[in-house]
């Protein structure tokens, strides 16, 4: 049997194809079949069912009912959905979309450019990520019923990737005409153009969706209905997959400690690691650079030389995820391999700390420090415990502090009363949207969660980030982000450990579940159930 560590390396590298091919070939021998009900598990029940005003758990549901302008292949190349053609002016300031004709919403009203205009307006004003994506949006024009033009004040090289159904859902304008969209009843009883229509939402239990008979893609969807179940307990989700009660789940369906056993023991369960680009993220150890000791780069360098990322990946993450040296996960388009790597070297760490002016005292202690692990993830506290054990080896006495999530966010981002945090961030579909917030000096803003917590301030990094944000030449932009990554890894405001391992766990009866970059957050139009 292939070891799990080996397995995850395979899945993450380009050579994954030969390994997963046997499953794929067997699956695609048959023609898609109509019928059946898919049971899809989500870890939490979201406050709304479509991601129009917030990018939370609802992204797992939204696209089944409400579609977007574009869809993407696994390399993030756009494909038509509600937009059939698009064109970007050479200066990168004008985006023209031709819309699909003859499409109707589930309530019978025809889909037109006014719906696109209303939807983008709502997203750009309310959706936290949408505000960033459309920050340069100057005006939206609707020259005809099936044509939309976006005019920007500055180029936004990430904009074309910001338009999948689960980021910018296109809702009917007549339901979102006036007033505050955040309280609109259509958020929990959505109407869209998607392959499934909304039937019911029983809070705390499930959402029921049924096949849209008038879907614009003739013959699709294949399923009769989809039941989305909310199962908050990890062990209960594990059991539901084992019994076949649930067919598919995304994100982190079962605890990593259960995953290997589940796949080994159940021939009808399998893993899919593609389709996570929009959620890819990295786990990090962040230093408070306002701390006098940690402001010294040699101290941070010493700590970097203590951390065995392979140990963290193999032991804390059970072999899942990829060891990383920089701020981007390998799935992210601007990921640069070959960044500076700090080898484990305890002697060097001791020497660096001596040189930095922190000798051991009579008890062998150099200084004391506090570590606050993020309380959400199962892996952050063990990482903090590992870090404490490693620091103890060179005479740094670390104390762990635990608290609930609200207290953690308040302590780190408002009071700034911390030394080291164990944290994680999502890269999202573009570094300008997902990563700039962490390293841009102007984003050191008290009270803003998951902003620049380290108080990192490097004018060169600021310059690279701001230039890349408006750079329309892909090669130049790639170079800017490569330089940015190298600079950050060199400055060590934080240490990147392991990419967040996200996956789709599915019953092998489920076919065609991951057909593009949005993975299980896609619209399910192609899914069919084998025997």
């Amino acid at each position: 049997m292939i070891s799990r560590r080996h397995f995850s390396q395979l899945m993450l590298s380009a050579s994954a194809l030969p390994f997963i091919a046997p499953i794929a070939v067997r699956a695609q021998q048959d023609e898609p079949r109509r019928g059946g009900t898919l049971v899809y598990a989500l870890n939490q029940a979201p406050p709304s069912l479509i991601s129009l005003v917030s990018p939370g758990v609802e992204r797992g549901i939204s696209a089944k009912v409400v579609e977007g302008l574009l869809d993407y292949d696994h390399d993030l190349n756009p494909r038509p959905q509600l937009a059939t053609e698009w064109d970007i002016s050479e200066d990168g300031l004008t985006y023209r979309f031709k819309l699909r004709e003859g499409v109707t919403f589930h309530d019978g009203t025809p889909f037109t450019s006014r719906d696109v205009e209303a939807s983008i307006r709502i997203v750009s004003q309310n959706h936290s990520r949408g505000r960033a994506s459309f920050a340069n949006l100057e005006s939206i024009e609707t020259p005809s019923d099936h044509e939309v033009v976006l005019r920007l004040s500055k180029p936004a090289p990430y904009l074309l990737r910001a338009l999948p159904a689960d980021e910018v859902p296109i809702v009917p304008a007549h339901l979102f005409g006036e007033g505050d969209p955040t309280g609109n009843p259509a958020l929990t009883a959505p109407v869209g153009t998607g392959p499934f229509r909304f039937i019911e939402y029983v809070r705390g239990s499930h959402v029921l969706l049924e096949r849209n008979e008038d879907y614009w893609q003739a013959g699709k969807p294949y399923l009769d209905s989809v039941i989305i179940r909310f199962i908050t307990d990890g062990a209960a989700r594990t059991a539901a997959f084992e019994t076949g009660e649930v067919h598919i789940g995304g994100g982190a369906s079962v605890p990593l400690s259960d995953l290997g056993r589940l796949i080994d023991e159940n021939p009808h369960l399998a893993l899919e690691t593609r389709g996570q680009v929009y959620d890819a993220g990295v786990n990090r150890i962040e230093f408070n650079l306002e701390n006098e000791i940690l402001a010294n780069r040699n101290v941070r360098l010493a700590i970097a030389h203590l951390i065995d990322k392979d140990y963290i990946r193999d032991t804390i993450y059970y072999g899942y995820g990829a060891v990383i040296d920089g701020p981007f996960a390998p799935e992210v388009p601007y990921y640069t391999p070959g960044l500076p790597h700090y080898e484990v070297d305890v002697d060097l760490a001791n020497r660096l700390l001596d040189e930095a002016g922190y000798p051991r005292d009579a008890n062998g202690v150099r200084f004391q420090i506090r570590i606050d692990p993020r309380p959400l993830a199962d892996t952050d506290r063990p990482t903090a415990e590992y870090l404490r054990a490693r620091l103890a080896e060179v005479g740094i006495e670390a104390t762990l502090r635990t608290q609930d999530f609200a207290a953690y966010v308040n302590r780190v981002f408002t009071e700034r009363d911390f030394d080291i945090i164990v944290n994680g961030i999502t890269n999202s579909f573009d570094p300008t949207i997902g990563t700039q917030r962490i390293y841009w000096s102007e984003n050191l803003r008290r009270g803003v969660p998951f902003s620049n917590a380290t108080a990192y301030n490097n004018p060169e990094v600021d310059r690279l980030l701001l230039a890349a944000a408006v750079e329309i030449d892909p090669k130049t932009r790639f170079q800017q982000f490569a330089d940015f990554q190298r600079q950050v890894v060199n400055d060590l405001p934080d240490i990147h450990t392991v990419s967040q391992f996200r996956y789709t766990l599915y019953n092998t009866r489920v076919q065609n579940h991951t057909v593009g970059a949005t993975g299980i957050n896609g619209n399910f139009a192609d899914i069919w159930l084998a025997d």
């Binding site: 032991t315 608290q403 207290a407």
Partner: protein
């Protein structure tokens, strides 16, 4: 959590027990060595004490048996007991020595159990003694105050207290003491009410002793047997509460305790059950020993049982 009501019931039952005979016995200056001998001859007490001494010895010897920091990463992660001779009880999810964890964990668990109980008993006796001795509006006021604590589910209150003030050894001890003093206060109050009506107390008043002297030297020694029995059960309860807190991730994160070991082993229950079973076994045995001790003391000191009646 479910242990609390049971123990409270048990305490309430016992609170009614140690009565007049004991008081008279002490008042009559019964030979103290004879009651100590009776206690030590009780088989339940012997078994309980033997187990507790063994665990106590392991805890004291922990730095010698397993030197170094029990939280350090000692070897490969998730080794089964006996898989490598150096780790007779295996290693946990991060590669920490389970034997070192259990031994050092005994120190933390016993320390928390004893100090939280001691603090709870001191608070309880102070408040209960004032209420029971003085009576009247002071008593009314204090009884209402005790009732507030009795009506709030104690473990829920404990979780809120510890989560609010930030988990650390000190807050865990203070928290457990704050949710368990009310039992002792109630018991002390009832003992004091009963005893202060006795002739020997009246005699002390006539002689001219002040309130403090009467409370400390006349009434308290006579109330002691009941309080000792209750206290021994409270240690078991405090130990369980600490374990439950640590299990929920609300223990001191810088300290290994049996509860924290169970909490971090829980995720691996299906594949590495020993990580939960080993510290769990130590908790079961300790709580059992403390209960045996409490039962034995109750047998000897409670006048409603035949043997105890003969103390006087």
């Amino acid at each position: 959590m479910s242990h609390n009501p049971d123990i409270n019931d048990e305490l309430a039952r016992r609170a009614l027990g140690p009565g007049a005979a004991v008081a008279n016995a002490a008042a009559g200056n019964a030979e103290p060595s004879s009651s100590v001998r009776r206690v030590l001859l009780n088989p339940l007490v012997v078994v309980g004490l033997t187990i507790l001494s063994a665990i106590g010895a392991l805890a004291l010897l922990a730095p010698l048996l397993t030197p170094g920091d029990p939280l350090s990463i000692a070897g490969p992660a998730r080794l089964w007991p006996g898989e490598i001779a150096a780790f007779p009880l295996g290693t946990d999810a991060l590669g920490r020595n389970v034997l070192a964890g259990v031994l050092h964990g005994a120190r933390a668990s016993i320390f928390v159990g004893l100090s939280a109980t001691l603090l709870g008993v001191v608070i309880g006796i102070l408040i209960g003694a004032v209420a029971g001795y003085f009576g009247g509006w002071v008593d009314d006021l204090i009884v209402r105050f005790i009732e507030i604590f009795q009506t709030i589910p104690s473990f829920v209150l404990l979780v809120v207290l510890v989560a609010f003030s930030g988990p650390s050894l000190l807050t865990v001890i203070l928290g457990i003491a704050l949710v368990s003093w009310d039992v002792i206060a109630r018991l002390t109050r009832s003992e004091f009410r009963r005893l202060s009506a006795q002739d020997f107390v009246s005699a002390a008043r006539v002689v001219g002793y002040d309130h403090s002297h009467i409370i400390r030297h006349e009434i308290l020694p006579n109330a002691a047997p009941a309080l000792i029995v209750t206290g021994s059960i409270m240690v078991a309860s405090a130990l369980l509460m600490e374990a439950a807190l640590s299990f929920m991730g609300l223990g001191d994160p810088n300290l290994v305790s049996w509860g924290s070991m169970i909490g971090s082993g829980r995720e691996l229950l299906r594949t590495h059950w020993y990580l939960t079973a080993i510290p769990g076994g130590f908790i079961v045995v300790s709580v059992l020993a403390l209960n045996l001790l409490g039962d034995g003391l109750n047998d000897v000191l409670n006048p409603r049982h035949g043997a105890a009646g003969q103390i006087s």
